[in-house]
Symmetry: C2
Subunit: 357 residues, 2 copies
Amino acid sequence: MATSSGPPTRHPAGATIYSVAERAGVSIASVSRVLQGSQAVSEKTRARVLQAAEELRYVPLAAARSLAVRHHEAHGLVLPELSGPYYSELLMGFESRAAELGQSVVLMLAQGKKDVPQAVRKLATRVDGIAMLGSSAIPDETVTALGGSKPVVLIAGDQTPAVDTVRAENTASAREVTAHVLGHGRTRLLFAGDPAAGPDIRDRYAGFVAAHDDAGLDAQPPVPVALREDEGTALADRLLKGDLDADALVCANDELALAVMVRLREGGLSVPDDVAVVGWDDVMTARYVVPGLTTVRQPVRELGARAADLLHERITGSAVPHSAQVIPTHLVIRSSCGCPPTTPTHPAPAARPRRTP
Amino acid sequence: MATSSGPPTRHPAGATIYSVAERAGVSIASVSRVLQGSQAVSEKTRARVLQAAEELRYVPLAAARSLAVRHHEAHGLVLPELSGPYYSELLMGFESRAAELGQSVVLMLAQGKKDVPQAVRKLATRVDGIAMLGSSAIPDETVTALGGSKPVVLIAGDQTPAVDTVRAENTASAREVTAHVLGHGRTRLLFAGDPAAGPDIRDRYAGFVAAHDDAGLDAQPPVPVALREDEGTALADRLLKGDLDADALVCANDELALAVMVRLREGGLSVPDDVAVVGWDDVMTARYVVPGLTTVRQPVRELGARAADLLHERITGSAVPHSAQVIPTHLVIRSSCGCPPTTPTHPAPAARPRRTP
DNA sequence: CTGTTAGCGCTTTCAT
DNA sequence: ATGAAAGCGCTAACAG
């Protein structure tokens, strides 16, 4: 056997519960008991087992244990991809919380996969539950089907029956930035982003509209662009060309906002004098660019952590009703909105670890 | 049973090979055969099995399969954390390649874990091999011990016996940037970064020295700072205060370089006129800052992909000798080094996906 | 070509 | 308190 597919590895097999039992001179049941922390074991056997296990550096094989206990002690996470700080932060929050809960995390990136639903189904095969981004390009039906057999939590997704949800607050903060810009005397605001692209952006646009309502103004329809630098550049060009008119831009994310700012300046327009620009996410560049980008910071890490928590509750807990949690965001005012430049200095955030090893 | 620990889930169990066999009116062996693509099955049974499996949406339980075949079809990846584009790109490269190879990826972030070696050992329990960053704070002994029982590939780590290695080229490119800066007539260069922090930086410093040698100059000793913005700010302060003297700074990464640039300017010094600054990684901000940051771009994605490849080869392949692959890097010249500003425009790279859902 | 059967390593009754 | 034994779901001989 093991001729064709199996790994003809040069690597030894590793201790099993049998080898530990043998070494300790007890039955495998006893070994299992002490390792499971069962009460019913004499101090003596416990000691012997512990020692034997230690000497053999024994760690139970996950697959065997999973099969026996019928769960995996692993959380699945499905993300579209990983560019920019958003997903990374989310992942960090998710991973650390999961680890605290004793769960491994199996990561799957949807982008580039040819058959995502199939990949998700396969993932489901090795985890106890799956958290995924609302817009991971997973068909709704796949999600609900999955939700029927495994716990699923949707991150930044629409509320769905039979599925838990976590999201950052969007409408109120959108309303707040928009009002702030309006407060600077701007009247011709444009919202850049496609509300149809997902609940986050939809809600941000809703806040944009609400702020206009508050001010007795009419909000312009959204300019449905993708959240990428190239689209920001193109958007700025339309402004420069006169295809579009605005004295302020509320962009659905920073990448967009940043690209717009740069292109606008290249085109001879001043930010914020000619047009104010605000974004979403507070990426690193937002602090470095001049003028500093006013933006909405989302507690993305926290979002990931909550997702891991919810998943775990749903997996272990009983039939609590499905929740839809919302985490508050935070407006970061710099000067691209029209506010005077802040302190001369550039406040680097608290220690952020290195990137290169 | 299943009263205490097991997930008292409201979620159905899912089809097993038995239910499929029963539905198809064949034995479980036949089901296994057709699902494994075995030759020896009649067209008729194959069809029935396929149909039954389809109807039941059957996907074999990973744990059961793993136990039987004695491997996991999963790669482990250990990273220190995920801030900045470096690790994210690495992870993306790793994940996609792993997926192409039919491997799941189990991710573990070392940062914040109290007992990393233990966590790694646990990880080893559910994967066929582990790729990890050279400087993931994993003790050498843990690595080699691990390497004894499972394939291990070190990313950007030191060549180690019994372990494969992938890394980006460092010395030559460091030599190249340094020579470039020297070519601008700068003579008082300083290298910012701690060579003792890992092979990458050590090699970069080596290239820095080599370039000086080439020019018949003596290289200054390195300024051992961590690769973080706050340390960059502090470094700039030392320069401004006169504690340190330099007309050019070769920084071991962009975060450092960027923070230095900003603080230098705040302190009244001009970049590059008074002091030239170059970095490593080509982060997004490097393109946005003024002047544009000259930097070395590493093929990080490729690095991740190669790691996944190597791991897979080592897992499935026979006893090929341990390799130490080096992937070439690429110098990106902008104007922080003293070169005239390039094209007025700001070349956004090809479509980079959105960050916010 | 197909069914029977023996494990894979571990947990968990059930006796003792 | 401890051991024997029965699975968990799947693969892979081994007989037919």
